[in-house]
């Protein structure tokens, strides 16, 4: 096996680019970083076009772009540099690289101090995200998982709004504590498995756990209890990242303080780390536990949908509205995952992509409006449609995308989730529970239509002292790209849904055990 496969190339180029940008003068940093970030976009698009993975990475599937190198030995465990992609991680990798480039372009206008550091950190974060979605050894994965936090902390804490310190520390501590909780849960499983595993390969652990019977009693906990404890700890840990009610409160603070491009990354990609991990760990490794507790899990999902939407309804700050609506949208992912049906898993994974694009689009659009008006408060702006017609047009399109308009990606994702959840045999009273969760599609229309009516339409007025004019082309261009992607995926979900289905189906059938 060659030492440097495409994944290593991706990581290497992005890291190298990050350091180059750190050293570059501020004037060129933005352009340089954007140019550098086009390489991972090109590489990941190429990887997508030649993608030949099959099945699920953890359940004996064939990995694409796999490398598995010995790394260090720790006690009797071998830690390995093990990376590769399956139909779940491939689309997420694409999402991360594409969204990073667009976020970098959207930074040109708002970021005007310490640019080289800003853009360097953004690339550093991209590298870590690439690692999160490709690593298949637990420790390797954990290193990337944690490494995402550090650039994020600085990006919020240095370039953020007035309360950036508070928001950054809250984000950092909250998610770190969550990681610790998750870590303890995972380690309990590793201890319980004892001799049945010899590496930290996620695939090996997943299959050991799914075969059942390998788990021994640990600290007085019978295997079944151990599973439950581990599941709970891991769920709690990942839930913070998603975020799921009631561990979501870091999110609005972080979003409101973060500069727009950082919000784009936060909502677009970072939240997906949580659902991705839930899918890989909780729902793949501990399937029986998840099924047995579906009633509780789905309650968290549906509660997040409705509660997040209600909170969004109460907000006056455009960014806060979008931030809370993310809680709502991610609640759908939980609903889909816990259904244990093909379209449930598939729709949930597709929703990660769809929401990544649409929330990125929403945040960027709000950012473009902010660039011109220097306010995000609903009551401060009115009737700007005349002054910035294209940006407003895209805002309207994005909002309808968020509301789940057919032929846009969000509808495909949500519909598949609903379809999967309705027919679930795992969720108690599945049709009813699904119907309750679906009410989110009404509330989302309520707050977005209201916000649009107040800010975009009516007579022009602005509370801040700025002259609103057409947004520059490089502000609008990323919006157009995102909107196009959202529509393409809405018309032809199969572009990614085919590989997603291929990777999630083994979750239901038990997968093929190759070793």
């Amino acid at each position: 096996m060659p030492i440097a496969g495409p994944v290593e190339a991706l990581l290497g180029v992005t890291l190298l680019g990050a350091f180059l940008v750190f050293l570059a003068p501020d004037e060129y940093a933005g352009k340089l970083a954007t140019a550098v970030s086009l390489v991972p976009v090109a590489v990941s698009v190429w990887m997508y076009s030649v993608f030949d993975g099959a099945g699920n990475a953890l359940l004996g599937g064939t990995l694409a772009f796999e490398s598995d190198l010995g790394w260090v030995s720790l006690g009797r465990y071998d830690l390995a540099w093990q990376v590769g992609l399956d139909g779940i991680s491939m689309p997420l990798l694409l999402l991360a690289t594409v969204l990073t480039t667009l976020a970098l372009v959207s930074s040109w206008t708002p970021i005007d101090e310490r640019e080289s550091q800003f853009y360097g950190l953004m690339l550093l974060m991209e590298a870590s995200l690439i690692g999160v979605f490709t690593a298949l050894d637990f420790f390797l994965w954990l290193v990337f998982w944690e490494a995402v936090l550090i650039p994020m902390y600085f990006l919020i804490g240095v370039w953020g709004g007035p309360r950036r310190k508070y928001a950054a520390i809250k984000f950092f501590v909250y998610t770190n504590v969550a990681t610790l909780v998750m870590f303890v849960g995972f380690m309990a499983l590793v201890f319980g498995l004892g001799d049945s595993i010899s590496t930290f390969g996620m695939a090996e652990i997943a299959q050991a756990l799914r075969e059942g019977g390998n788990l021994s009693t640990l600290a007085g906990l019978a295997p079944a209890d151990l599973r439950l404890v581990a599941f709970t700890l891991m769920f709690a840990g990942f839930a913070v990242k998603v975020p799921v009610f009631p561990v979501h409160t870091w999110l609005p603070d972080a979003h409101v303080e973060a500069p727009t491009p950082v919000s784009v990354m936060l909502a677009g990609v970072l939240l997906k780390m949580g659902t991705y991990a839930l899918l890989r760990f909780n729902f793949t490794m501990l399937r029986e536990t998840a099924e047995a507790n579906a009633g509780i899990i789905v309650a968290f999902g549906v509660l997040s949908v409705i509660y997040g939407a209600m909170l969004a309804l109460a907000q006056q700050d455009l960014k806060r509205i979008v931030a809370y609506s993310s809680i709502s949208s991610m609640g759908y992912v939980i609903l889909g995952l816990v259904a244990f049906t093909p379209h449930g898993f598939g729709g949930a994974t597709f929703q990660m992509i769809a929401h990544g694009l649409i929330s990125g689009l929403m945040f960027m659009t709000v950012g473009v409006i902010y660039n011109e008006t220097h306010t995000r408060m609903v009551g401060d702006i009115s009737g700007i449609a005349d002054r910035m017609p294209w940006a407003v047009g895209i805002f309207v399109a994005a909002a309808f995308g968020y509301m789940g308009l057919p032929f846009m990606a969000g509808f495909a994702a949500e519909y598949l989730i609903f379809q999967g959840a309705f027919a679930s045999t795992v969720i108690p009273a599945a049709p009813l529970v699904t119907a309750v969760g679906m009410f989110g599609i009404v509330v989302v229309a309520g707050y977005l239509l209201w916000a649009m009516q107040r800010t975009l339409f009516g007579e022009y007025s602005l509370a801040t002292d700025y002259d609103v004019s057409r947004a520059p082309v490089h502000d609008v261009a990323p919006l157009v790209v995102l909107l196009a992607l959202v529509i393409v995926l809405g018309v032809r979900p199969g572009l990614v849904y085919r590989m997603i289905q291929d990777a999630v189906n083994p979750l239901l059938h038990g997968g093929v055990v190759l070793w």
């Binding site: 944690e146 209600m310 909170l311 239509l449």
Partner: protein, 697 residues
């Protein structure tokens, strides 16, 4: 050989193309995109007519078509449904395609006069909206499964939002647009649950069976029929109950889009949009979509007596309820808005009470005469310099004769005066409701009769408000300077009016069922159209024909006709005379009150009812209260709870730990590099601990 059916997707694709052209190139075109829209809708009309002729068997090839054309989402696993887009063409589809593309074409032409000639700005956006609206509706019409229907149903909703809110610089239109989308979205929420439920139950959403290479793919109404026969259970419910639940869920979307009680409130507000848009919404697109959906899946509704009763009652009630509100309105378009709600009530009444042909007939005639009335109103509004208040008009009869005579034709049709189109269709609706009410046993029959009574009473109000409108607008003396010297309108306004005016007088000829029954002449063409040939042809292949529906109605909910007064002919004459008499009564009352030179308001005579009617029975207020008085405070409370309790706990935990851990101050430096170091350190410690422990275990 390529036949008409190969081009059916183009019927929707052409206006879609016009949308793209108008949006991106409209500003460079002399008519700002209208050219593209007119060409596209004309093309759609030609293709639709070709399709209809093919369905009629006049081109010699197959007379029906049902194919899956595009796999939207392929379900890979066995248990995952595959979601497709496809085209279904049967006589109902063909009829509706012709109606929609005809109205859309006329509306485009009329818009040249109403929008271009009036110097409006933002026209590319306007024509793009019209194009997308038409495309969505046409695709909805030929959808061959319920998911595809839902998808285009939603796009129709989007277009109504864009067009109702066209004048976005004012306060009213954006608010009305929001309301239209939100209220219909509320209905669509139930519809979507229904769609998901239908797929989860049957694994398909096909309206009619498709012959595929792999064998016949059955339709869901057929599967439902079989399930009821075999008394299966679904999700813990008996087949009969479950079909009723699904049917009522889908009905939510119908009630929203077709503006039926209690989700009708968006429609009068939607008058904020440009008048040609109102014509399109009311006659052929959005509002018609709901009723069309019920007709499209009639084989499913015919299986559920409860659903039929609900449809009939909603219809009858809405017909009456909306008609009473139309009586007190001051503005021309407001009267028309309430008349639309009321007329769609009649269609629902007919569908519920087993009068499938009557409903489709009324849908057809209404499309013609309501488009006519709105365009006529648009002509008056141009003439009046965009003043819509009827009390500022008067005497326009002599100054705008084309508008007057065509408007009169539409009004006579709306009021249901013989021999105008509306008479024939409304009479058939009421007749069907009556005979099925009498013939059906038990509660269902009683419900039909109740709905019939409300529908019959509404005829009087319809005659009254329609002619109150006519007299106030066109008769008497001109009451303002503008009315004395109205702005003239051009050919692009008059031509569509003329086409529709003739239509409103004559479309009734397509189904003169009463004459047929009295004379024995076979002139009930629509009936024959929807019934199909006895042997072979589409009825056997698709089961979407009238004969099949009548069988279902007879076999499952036991809906049967009976003639209470003498035989069929006597009942027919009495029923027709009754509704015509009531309509004339309304017209004459309007004439005596308002058909004078200087009419005055008589609404005070209504006493306490006046306030109730002008406030629309406080329906709006109650819904606004639900939104602003209940939901918003609830959201605020949730926000308070979130900030105070949920986040409060988080902050509390952190401050407690800060307090108790104050001696660790030195490491709580807030510098992230320290945290990072600490994190790494703890990770290493954990690792070590784990190696040691792991080794022991």
């Amino acid at each position: 050989m390529a036949g008409a059916f190969d081009f059916v997707p183009a019927i929707a694709a052409l206006p879609l193309l016009a949308f793209v052209i108008a949006l991106f190139a409209g500003q460079y075109m002399p008519k700002r995109g209208a050219e593209a829209g007119i060409a596209a809708t004309a093309g759609s009309l030609i293709l639709s007519i070709w399709t209809a002729l093919t369905v009629a068997g006049m081109t010699g090839s197959e007379t029906f078509y049902n194919e899956n054309l595009y796999t939207w989402v392929a379900g890979v696993a066995d248990s995952a449904v595959t979601l497709r887009l496809g085209v279904l063409v049967d006589p109902l589809t063909a009829l509706m395609l012709v109606i929609v593309s005809l109205i859309a074409l006329l509306v485009h032409v009329f818009s040249l006069g109403y929008m271009n000639d009036e110097g409006e700005t933002g026209l590319p956006r306007y024509y793009a909206g019209l194009g997308l609206f038409t495309a969505s509706m046409l695709a909805f019409v030929f959808s061959n499964n319920i998911l595809m229907a839902f998808m285009f149903f939603e796009l129709v909703g989007l277009c109504s939002y864009l067009l109702i809110g066209f004048w976005f610089r004012e306060d009213g239109p954006p608010s009305a647009a929001k309301k239209a989308f939100l209220v219909t979205r509320f209905g669509d929420y139930f519809f979507l649950i229904g769609v998901v439920g239908i797929f989860a139950t049957f694994g398909t959403g096909l309206f009619a069976p498709v012959e595929a290479a792999s064998g016949t793919m059955e339709s869901f109404p057929h599967m439902a029929e079989m399930a009821i026969e075999e008394s299966e259970t679904f999700f813990g419910y008996g087949a009969q109950t479950w079909m009723t639940i699904l049917g009522l869920l889908v009905l939510g979307g119908v009630v929203g889009k077709s503006a039926q009680f209690p989700l009708h409130t968006w429609l009068p507000d939607a008058m904020e949009g440009p008048t040609p848009v109102s014509a399109l919404i009311h006659a052929a697109t959005m509002v018609a979509a709901g009723v069309y959906l019920v007709a499209r899946m009639y084989g499913f509704y015919a299986l559920s007596p409860q659903a039929l009763a609900v449809i009939a009652l909603i219809g009858g009630f809405t017909a009456l309820f909306a008609a009473t509100m139309g009586v007190v309105k001051q503005e021309l378009k407001q009267v028309l808005a309430y008349s639309t709600i009321s007329q769609y009530g009649y269609m629902m009444l007919a569908l519920g009470a087993g009068g499938y042909v009557a409903a489709v007939f009324h849908l057809t005639t209404h499309a013609i005469f309501k488009a006519l009335l709105f365009l006529g109103a648009g002509s008056v509004i141009i003439a009046m310099h965009h003043n819509e208040n009827m009390w500022d008009m008067g005497g326009l009869k002599d100054k705008m004769p084309v508008t007057y005579w065509t408007f009169l034709s539409g009004s006579l049709a709306l009021a249901g005066i013989v021999p105008f189109a509306g008479f024939w269709s409304k009479d058939e609706v009421l007749f069907e409701a009556l005979i099925h009410g009498v013939g059906t046993e038990g509660t269902l029959g009683a419900m039909f009769l109740l709905a019939y009574a409300m529908g019959l009473l509404a005829v009087f109000f319809t005659g009254f408000y329609t002619f109150r409108m006519v007299y106030l607008t066109f008769h008497g003396n001109a009451r303002t300077d503008v009315a004395r010297d109205p702005e003239p309108v051009r050919w692009n306004v008059k031509a569509p009016l003329a086409v529709l005016g003739i239509g409103a007088a004559t479309v009734g000829l397509v189904n003169m069922a009463p004459v047929e029954k009295l004379t024995g002449l076979h002139i009930d063409f629509l009936h024959q159209w929807l019934d199909g040939p006895e042997e072979g042809g589409w009825p056997d292949a698709l089961s979407t024909d009238l004969h099949h529906y009548e069988e279902l109605l007879h076999n499952v909910p036991h809906v049967d006709p009976a003639y209470p007064i003498g035989g069929e002919q006597t009942t027919l004459i009495v029923s027709a005379a009754l509704s015509l008499g009531l309509a004339l009564g309304g017209v004459l009352l309007a004439r005596s009150l308002y058909g004078v030179d200087e009419p005055v308001e008589h609404t005070d005579k209504l006493g306490g009812a006046k306030a109730l009617l002008t406030h629309n029975y406080y329906q709006d207020e109650s819904q606004v209260w639900l939104a602003q008085g209940v939901t918003v405070p609830l959201a605020r409370a949730a926000d308070k709870f979130d900030q105070g309790v949920v986040d409060g706990v988080v902050n509390g935990v952190s401050s407690v730990s800060l307090f108790t851990g104050s001696r660790f101050r030195r490491i709580q430096s807030g510098v992230v590099s320290n945290y990072a170091a600490l994190m790494t350190l703890s990770l290493v410690l954990l690792l070590v601990a784990f190696v040691v422990l792991g080794g022991v275990a």
